[in-house]
């Protein structure tokens, strides 16, 4: 920045001061010398006058010595009339003959700065009195220097005042002349330079004559125009760059949002998978319970089988007893006692049978309850598999699709971003060219300034400013270029991260599909096991029916036996009647045997079905645990994916920060350039 030239440094002021100094010192010395001369002249004249007066007094004293009154009067008039302050006449022996004086002040020791131009206020003179060559006394005269001092005082005041007025007039005319011829153009050039160095390049210099100032003004104008056009170019360039950076920042924000959405989708998938996992755990629990129940079924069945065996044995015994009875009845005529005994035995056996059948009935009821529970559990399992699980898996698949599309979108955005930064590189190249041009301009300006010599000094300040500006621009451009390179490498990183997250997303997608398939298979198995359980239930119900029949038959047998007992008691009624009764018994026993066999077959079928169901349930358990493993691996993959998403977000944020730095850099550059006020581009 150029400072305004102080008035005390201007050429005009210096010149005027010099002339003033010479005039004042020369005139002062001359005038002082003149005054000294005049003082000595006046002093001599005064003392000559006083001497003449004293001479006169002496003569008067001699002539009027005899008349003191007359002498006194003479002295009085003398003292009153002029510069004589006191007169004293003494005789030879020192007695005062006559004395007269006016009031006057003895001069004090005060210092007068112009003492050399004044005589003392009080002076004295002593003259001897002679009468006929004989000293008779002395005359003392005191006189005042006031009259001389009055003249000197006037000379010290009036002429110097006139002199000062004359000087002022001369100085005023010199200053006017210089201001008109030199000061004005210099001032105008200075003002223009001050504005230019202050950054205002719209300054105009014109109306100069074809002299030295005119040539300086033309050179200045040429330089200012070149600088202004360069600055305009640079300004538009930096605005472009800042626009591009704004766009870049916007694009980055989009990328960031995309990645955040991606992370959200990932989280959705994870919660879905977790839900599927929870459903699976419940299934596993239910299947475990089912297995427990089927185990219980098997033990019940075994118990039932044992009971059935017992029944069979009892039935066999019954049959044999009946046959025995038959043979005994055939020999009935032998003894009725034996018959009664046998009948009693038969009754006892039937009671045994009845109790056994009741036992079986209880077991079968238990089996029935268990089978019903199994059927309910199997249908529950089917419902769970068919409903919740399939929903969760399809949720997961949907989330996966969203995720994939998000990842694709962010990948596209990042590619666009990469293209943008290439554009910026192109712009930077243009800025570099402009900077070189500016540097050249500053060199030319420096050369012009150097050739202009003293006049070009201010110019060279402008040239240095331009050079500094171009250097700073070059440094900034280099820095920006580095930042762009960093951004590009970071973008490449982001692209890599996004690609790998895309791969993982694809992998997860296939995993989810596979888990869906497995789920469908599990559903199939569950359906099969449910139908099995249904079959078991049905078989058990059939068994229960069979047992009811058995109970009826046994009741019949008991009745028959009672009947037999009655018949035995009514032995006398006839053997034929008895025989008939016994054959009835035999028929009933046949029915019992048949029922027992049927029951055994039913139990066998139940057992087989239960084993099959058990096997199926175990298969369901295996499938479920496999599915759970799959779910766990999906969850792990999702976690990994989320980690990669986070890395991508961090990368993008870093790029964002770099962009902000770049933007600030450009803003700074712009601000620096804004310091130069430039005419709008031509």
């Amino acid at each position: 920045m150029m400072e305004k030239i102080k008035i005390k440094n201007t050429l005009v002021t210096n010149f005027t001061a010099m002339i003033l100094l010479i005039l004042v010192v020369g005139q002062g010395i001359l005038y002082a010398w003149l005054m000294l001369y005049q003082k000595s002249y006046l002093k001599e004249r005064l003392s000559a006058e006083v001497t003449a007066t004293a001479e006169h007094i002496r003569n008067a004293a001699v002539t009027m010595g005899h008349d003191p009154k007359q002498l006194d009067m003479f002295l009085e008039t003398l003292v009153k009339s002029g510069s004589i302050l006191a007169v004293k006449i003494t005789d030879a022996s020192g007695n005062v003959l006559a004395a007269r004086a006016v009031q006057y002040k003895e001069e004090g020791p005060g210092l007068n700065p112009f003492f050399m131009f004044f005589v003392p206020d009080v002076n004295s003179m002593k003259l001897p009195m002679e009468t006929a060559k004989k000293e008779t006394g002395s005359l003392e005269v005191v006189y005042s220097g006031q009259s001389v001092n009055e003249v000197m005082r006037r000379f010290l005041v009036i002429p110097p005042f006139m002199q000062v007025v004359t000087f002022l007039i001369i100085i005023y005319s010199i200053i006017k002349f210089f201001q008109k011829k030199v000061g004005k153009p210099v001032k105008r050039i200075n003002a223009a330079l001050a504005r230019a160095t202050g950054g205002d390049l719209t300054v105009e210099i014109s109306e100069f004559k074809d002299d030295e100032f005119g040539s300086i003004a033309n050179g200045f104008k040429f330089l200012i125009d070149r600088l202004a056009s360069t600055l305009n170019k640079m300004k538009s360039m930096s605005e472009n760059v800042s626009m591009a950076i704004n766009q870049l920042t916007l694009t980055f924000r989009n990328v960031n949002q995309g990645i955040q959405k991606q992370t959200e989708s990932g989280n959705n998938v994870m919660t879905s998978v977790k839900r599927a996992n929870d459903s699976h755990k419940q299934i596993t629990e239910d299947v475990g319970k089912l297995i427990d129940f089927s185990n219980e079924n098997v033990t019940s069945l075994l118990e039932m089988k044992a009971t059935a065996d017992e029944i069979a044995l009892s039935t066999g015994r019954l049959f044999k007893a009946t046959e025995d009875a038959y043979s005994v009845v055939a020999q009935m005529s032998q003894t009725s006692k034996v018959i009664a005994e046998n009948a009693e035995e038969a009754s006892k056996a039937v009671e045994d049978t009845s109790s056994s059948v009741e036992e079986i009935n209880a077991s079968v009821k238990e089996v029935e309850v268990n089978a019903k529970e199994a059927a309910r559990l199997a249908s529950d399992t089917r419902a769970i598999l068919g409903g919740q699980c399939i929903d969760a898996v399809s949720d997961a698949i949907n989330s996966m699709d969203t995720l994939m599309s998000e990842v694709k979108k962010s990948s596209e955005t990042v590619s666009r971003l990469s293209g943008r930064s290439d554009d910026i590189e192109k712009m930077l190249k243009v800025i570099k060219d402009v900077t070189e041009q500016t540097n050249l301009l500053s060199l030319n300006a420096a050369i012009l300034a150097a050739q202009a010599g003293e006049y070009g000094k201010s110019f060279s300040v402008v040239a240095d400013e331009i050079r500094g500006l171009s250097d700073r621009t070059a440094a900034s451009t280099k820095e920006i270029s580095n930042i762009i390179k960093t951004i590009q490498s970071e973008i490449a990183d982001a692209v890599k991260a996004i690609n790998s997250s895309m791969n993982i997303a694809t992998e997860s997608n296939t995993l989810v599909f596979k888990s869906g398939e497995d789920m469908a298979r599990a559903l199939e198995v569950a359906q099969k096991s449910a139908s099995m359980a249904e079959a078991i239930k049905r078989a058990t119900e059939e068994q229960a029916n069979g047992l009811k029949q058995i109970v009826v038959s046994v009741e019949n047998i008991r009745k028959m036996i009672e009947h037999t007992a009655q018949a035995t008691q009514e032995q006398q009624k006839g053997t034929a009647h008895l025989l008939e009764g016994v054959s009835d018994v035999k028929d009933a026993a046949d029915i019992v045997k048949h029922g027992a066999e049927e029951e055994a077959a039913g139990i066998k079928a139940v057992s087989k079905n239960l084993e099959l169901a058990d096997e199926r349930i175990k298969q369901i358990g295996d499938a479920t645990s496999g599915y759970q493993k799959l779910n766990d691996s999906i969850a792990a993959a999702m976690e990994q994916m989320r980690g990669i998403g986070m890395t991508a977000v961090k990368d993008v944020e870093e790029v964002s920060v770099s962009l902000t730095t770049l933007f600030n850099e450009i803003e700074l550059l712009k601000k620096e350039m804004a310091a130069f006020k430039v005419k709008s581009a031509k």
Partner: protein
């Protein structure tokens, strides 16, 4: 106190007195004409003025770098002549005691080219004597050829 425009050819610093310099230009299109002598590498058009170009890099045996180049326009007698150099550095001031007379031979350059060696800020600047850059023979050839160029220029002007 003398001011010199300092430029680089290869690794060496050269100086030319600032009073001589007219202008500094960046690389321009160089027209080569068949009539030009060998030591002139072409002519350039500076705002309508045709100026012959002397490749100082070739003259001082440095390898011509096409990567970057600048042109200094200097006054040579009554003419202007362009000097082709690698790079312009800055304007340097040398006090008389900073300029030493050139030795008989310096870095393979004939000292008739030189006015002296400037030493400042740890740098050694070879100060060129523009008047002696061309031999008297070359000077005559240059005058003839520039006359030729001007005629040609005038001719094309008329035809256009």
């Amino acid at each position: 106190m003398e001011k010199f425009a300092v430029f680089k050819i290869g690794k060496e610093d050269f100086g030319v007195h600032i009073g001589r310099v007219v202008e500094i230009l960046k690389s321009q299109k160089i027209y080569s004409l068949p009539e030009l002598p060998d030591f002139i590498s072409g002519v350039i058009d500076v705002r309508g003025e045709v100026i012959p170009l002397l490749d100082l890099r070739k003259r001082f045996g440095a390898q011509a770098e096409t990567r970057k180049c600048r042109i200094i326009i200097v006054r040579y007698e009554d003419e202007k002549i362009g000097l082709l150099v690698d790079e312009i550095d800055k304007i340097m001031q040398f006090d008389p005691e900073e300029i030493s007379p050139s030795p008989a031979m310096f870095k393979g350059l004939r000292t008739e080219y030189l006015t002296g060696l400037g030493k400042k800020e740890g740098r050694l600047v070879i100060l060129l004597n523009i008047e002696r850059l061309l031999t008297s023979e070359e000077r005559i050839v240059l005058k003839e050829s520039t006359g030729l160029i001007e005629e040609e220029d005038a001719g094309t002007g008329k035809s256009a």
